[in-house]
């Protein structure tokens, strides 16, 4: 079987190989840009200022400026500066990010009130978890009702369609005024960011249930209540589960806004703060942590999904 066959699954070995490549290729590009001076390196890191008065050791200057100053000093018979090609600050090399990643988990907090990185991460996860659970507790039932009964669809959806265009961060100040400064307003932002989408997505999923199943249920004597509980809900459950996995990803994207509201805490605040001081190795380390965590949770959910819905796998 060739690698490129239209709509044919790859063999198991090839699948794993390609999956590894999907991570290896970006990493290789990143490494090439970072370690091969001729690939990009638009700046020069000054090692010796020479006679240039404003140069300092470890200063990053554009290549042209450096060459211009070097020529100028040579023609004036002065010491030329020396330096090495370098990338801009916002593109740290893989090993620097790796080091930051290790340091982040291995270094004890410097203040007693400061949290370990995994504690910040845990606080972020809790915010996501509660925001998402609350949203799901309301959003899924409403979505199912709206998808099943036109009455609820017309009652809820016009307003939700309107509301979902309002950016969740806009409610930050209101959330703080009502819910205080700690986790509650952050959870509220996650909730607002997820809930309205969730209702619409769940309603749509519910509508996609094969109507023949509902008819079959009716001809078997099921009333509205039974149709809802014994046909609609079990019928959409696998799709609902898939929607939930996708929506959970949404919730993560709102985290970065949520954690800037009220007291500063959590992993994304860490990212914002480090970016402000241009410590991009830490920024990328934190991004990688979130990515790995998200991927892990998704794998876990996919695994449980196969357990929960055995009729889907065969």
């Amino acid at each position: 079987m060739p690698f490129l066959a239209v709509r044919k699954p790859l063999s198991k070995e090839k699948r794993s190989l390609v999956a590894i490549l999907s991570f290896a290729i970006p990493l290789m590009i990143w490494s090439a840009v970072s370690y091969l001076p001729f690939v990009w390196h638009p700046l020069i890191k000054v090692t010796d200022a020479g006679s240039v008065d404003y140069f300092k050791a470890n200063m990053l200057v554009p290549r042209e400026t450096f060459e211009f100053e070097a020529e100028k000093s040579v023609s004036a018979g002065l010491d030329p500066p020396s330096g090495l090609p370098a990338n801009p600050l916002y593109l740290p090399a893989p090993h620097e990010v790796g080091k930051a990643l290790y340091t982040a988990f291995a270094t004890e907090p410097r203040r007693q009130s400061e949290k370990w990185l995994h504690e910040s991460l845990w606080s972020s996860i809790q915010v996501i978890f509660w925001g998402f659970i609350l949203s799901s507790m309301l959003g899924i039932p409403i979505g199912i009702l709206a998808g099943t009964f036109d009455f609820f669809s017309k009652l809820f959806e016009p307003f939700i369609e309107f509301f979902r265009y309002l950016p969740a961060p806009a409610f930050g100040a209101l959330a703080v005024a009502i819910l205080g400064i700690y986790q509650a307003p952050k959870i509220a932002i996650i909730f607002i960011g997820t809930f309205f989408q969730q209702v619409l997505v769940v309603a749509n999923t519910t509508r996609k249930l094969d109507p023949a199943l509902l008819e079959a249920g009716q001809t078997l004597g099921a009333n509205n209540r039974s149709l809802l509980l014994k046909v609609v809900i079990p019928g959409i459950l696998p799709d609902l589960y898939r929607d939930t996995r996708i929506l959970l990803g949404w919730a993560w994207t709102y985290l970065i806004v949520a954690e800037l509201i009220g007291t500063s805490s959590g992993i994304t605040w860490f990212i914002t703060q480090q970016a402000r001081y241009k410590n991009f190795d830490n920024v990328y380390a934190a991004i990688i942590i979130i990515g790995v965590l998200g991927l892990f949770i998704d794998f876990l959910l996919a695994y449980f999904g196969r357990r929960f819905f055995p009729w889907k796998t065969t």
Partner: protein
């Protein structure tokens, strides 16, 4: 061309005639009175069914056949209560019905088994809805699975079964509710020829052994003549009853009857009803010119 000399389809042997007269004395399970169904189409209202009148006797097997678009499916869905009649009424044991209910079992072409329930639980669904206890429902469901020959598969999910097996489960599921009439909407349409023949035999067996009246929709002439006591022929635009034919093929049926004169005569008659001579319209003709090179290896297929 040799043309078979066929008897008149209306000719019935004494035995058959006698059976029909007995059949007509039976009570009426389902009666359709002046049923009309109109839809709001894109170009204005469309009459899907017009003045349908039909009486189905107890334990009778009635097939409905007609050209595509004649409203066969609309008819059976209306009978099941899934569509609302525009006018007219449907009586089940002399009582008017308007909504779907378990006393009218329904079997679809697409099986419509609940994919999240095992075979046994699919059959239990209706039983539990009608208020049976779990243990009763379970033991009854077991009986049904064994009746349709699927004991070994009672804990399988529908996706693990073949088409024929799925349809047997669907029939068992509908029958478990002990309906007065079983409405079947082209149930074997999606099956291959062999399985379909087998399923027809199964269905005859079930019909013979269980107290059930069957209304069966099909577009397959052989199937209709083979299974039915009477065949209702519909015509399209609007969907009206063209003729109700008493099938002169003696009961009990078996596959060897497919080439008996009365079978062929009935089939031929229905054929002429559904596709009258000269009906083939211009749009259906291909417009081909010879494009094969005369010198080609095979210049002429004949």
């Amino acid at each position: 061309m040799i043309r078979l000399k066929l008897p008149d389809y209306k000719y019935q042997t004494e035995k058959v005639k006698e059976r029909f007269s007995r059949l007509k004395r039976r009570s009426i399970t389902m009666e359709v009175r002046n049923l009309t169904k109109k839809f709001q189409g894109i170009d204005g209202p469309v009459t899907a069914l017009k003045n349908i009148n039909l009486k189905v006797h107890k334990r009778e097997f009635v097939c409905v056949i007609g050209p595509s678009g004649c409203g066969k499916s609309t008819l059976i869905r209306t009978l099941a209560g899934l569509e609302e009649a525009t006018s007219g009424e449907i009586l089940l044991d002399d009582k008017v019905v308007t909504k779907p209910g378990p006393e009218r079992g329904m079997v679809y072409q697409e099986y419509t088994l609940f994919p999240w329930l095992t075979v046994k639980k699919n059959i239990m669904f209706g039983l539990l809805e009608s208020g049976a206890t779990r243990s009763n429902a379970e033991s009854e469901a077991r009986q049904w699975t064994s009746l349709v020959g699927l004991e070994k598969f009672e804990n399988h999910y529908p996706s693990q079964l073949s088409g024929g097996m799925k349809q047997r489960v669907a029939i068992a599921r509908a029958l478990a509710n002990q309906p007065k009439i079983l409405l079947m909407d082209e149930p074997f349409g999606a099956l291959d020829a062999q399985t379909r023949a087998k399923m027809q035999v199964y269905l005859m067996e079930i019909w013979k052994n269980i107290d059930i009246t069957i209304l069966f929709i099909t577009h397959d002439l052989n199937e209709a003549v083979y299974l039915a006591d009477r065949v209702v022929v519909l015509k399209a635009n609007p969907g009206e009853i063209q003729e109700i034919i008493e099938v002169p093929v003696p009961q009990p049926r078996n596959p060897s009857q497919f080439i008996t004169p009365e079978f062929l005569a009935t089939k031929h008659h229905i054929e002429t009803l559904i596709h009258p001579k000269g009906e083939l319209k211009e749009v259906d003709n291909l417009n081909l010119v010879r494009m094969v090179n005369v010198k080609s290896d095979i210049g002429d297929v004949f």
